[in-house]
Symmetry: C2
Subunit: 222 residues, 2 copies
DNA sequence: CCTGAGACATTTGTATACAATAATGTCCTA
DNA sequence: TAGGACATTATTGTATACAAATGTCTCAGG
């Protein structure tokens, strides 16, 4: 599944995450093939992968649609993330190498730099954030946990609203990361687990609040 | 992915679970296609699904192999199952309909009948057990939780050793199910969660004990 | 106006051929 | 004999054609 298949996967995935393909919309293989510039074979491959990511659903008659996330689904996903990423943080704290700890520190440093621009660099924040969390997952050393979490971390609704976070919210996130680092430095699994769970659930409520007031979403960042 | 694809999936899956395809063995698409009596296309489909079930792994160069489960992997999987199925039991208890409760009772009744044969009907036990747990998952009403757990419930090593459970072990399992039913009947989520977590972890240790002494596995049941 | 049967269009499933890539073996050189 | 470049073989990736299934529309009959 090298070039064409990955291309189809990335293309379709980003079209879903960006909202270019609307939630609930049907995904016809041939149309996607044309848009991606490949044949149907790699597109089918990509749809399978996206289905296991839960970004795509299939009817009983094998038609594919962009997954439609209800508010309950989002809450559900965050709750599970809190449990599983808490678990990951605990394991990570208990078995973290000094080198891994340094990489995690470095990731949060990049986050700090992204935040303290004249206008916060949200893209940079998201990159750093992804690195931060994936380093922890790596340190946890459980392939299974990684596999389970991979289906929970990418959520279209969240992705699309990330740009609306205020600088204050970004700073709060940074501070929680610092606290996590302190827990890791002390190899305190229980502490790390508690902070991580809180971190995820706070993020959920930030998302949730933003969606109670905002019915229209301004695509401009900042 | 109707007939041929499902057939390939079921065939390969059962060959893996039964041990006919040895752990670590390579899975060449064409060879599998021939054994399944279909072309490579549905086989590739099946391999993808099996990969997301973690029954198959792929190298960085896209060669497929039967997943090789280390003891740590098994422990890991059981631990996650305990957490997630505990969660499912809690949610189920909190929102269970009377009808669902009845179906769960019925499943455990089938288990009782399977156990109390002259020689215990292990196949019947496994069927009832699967129904019991999947009814709970259904009642929990979280598609995400179901999706996550589906990758954890089928484990080749466990599957292959199920036939070695003593009648006593089967009865213990039945009794724990009865206790779960009591928790459901009272809609006590915390109780249900605790029992379920214990139930899964006990099953893990039963498996683990069986594998400390047994290096050779007798295929005969009973 | 509703309903259902049937023709037609659309979409997905499978087989096959060929291209691209990875693994393996061979032979030459140092 | 060890090691490396090259040829050979095996395996996977992609495109395409066609088969099967599903969805849609029309129109007759009530």
């Amino acid at each position: 599944m090298s070039r064409a298949s990955n291309r189809a996967y990335e293309t379709i995935r980003s079209m879903i995450l960006s909202g270019e393909l609307p939630a609930g919309g049907q995904l016809a293989e041939e149309a996607l093939a044309e848009r991606c510039g490949v044949s149907r074979t790699p597109v089918r491959d990509a749809l399978r992968r996206l289905e296991s990511d839960l970004l795509v659903t299939r009817t009983d008659t094998q038609r594919s649609f962009v997954a439609d996330w209800s508010l309950d689904d989002v809450a559900d996903a965050f709750e599970l993330r809190a449990i599983l990423e808490g678990r990951a943080a605990k394991r990570a704290a208990e078995r973290m190498s000094d080198a891994a700890l340094e990489r995690i520190r470095a990731a949060n440093l990049r986050i700090a730099q992204a935040i303290h621009q004249p206008t916060p660099d949200v893209g940079g924040f998201l990159d750093g954030n992804r690195d931060f969390h994936s380093e922890i997952l790596e340190a946890a050393g459980s392939r299974r946990l990684s596999a389970l979490l991979s289906t929970l971390i990418e959520q279209p609704v969240v992705w699309r609203t990330a740009h609306h976070y205020s600088r204050e919210a970004l700073v709060r996130s940074y501070n929680e990361h610092e606290e996590l680092i302190a827990a890791f430095a002390r190899r305190d699994g229980a502490w790390a687990e508690a902070i991580m769970a809180g971190h995820i659930l706070r993020a959920y409520h930030a998302y949730s609040d933003a969606h109670n007031g905002l019915t229209h979403l301004d695509p401009a960042r900042g």
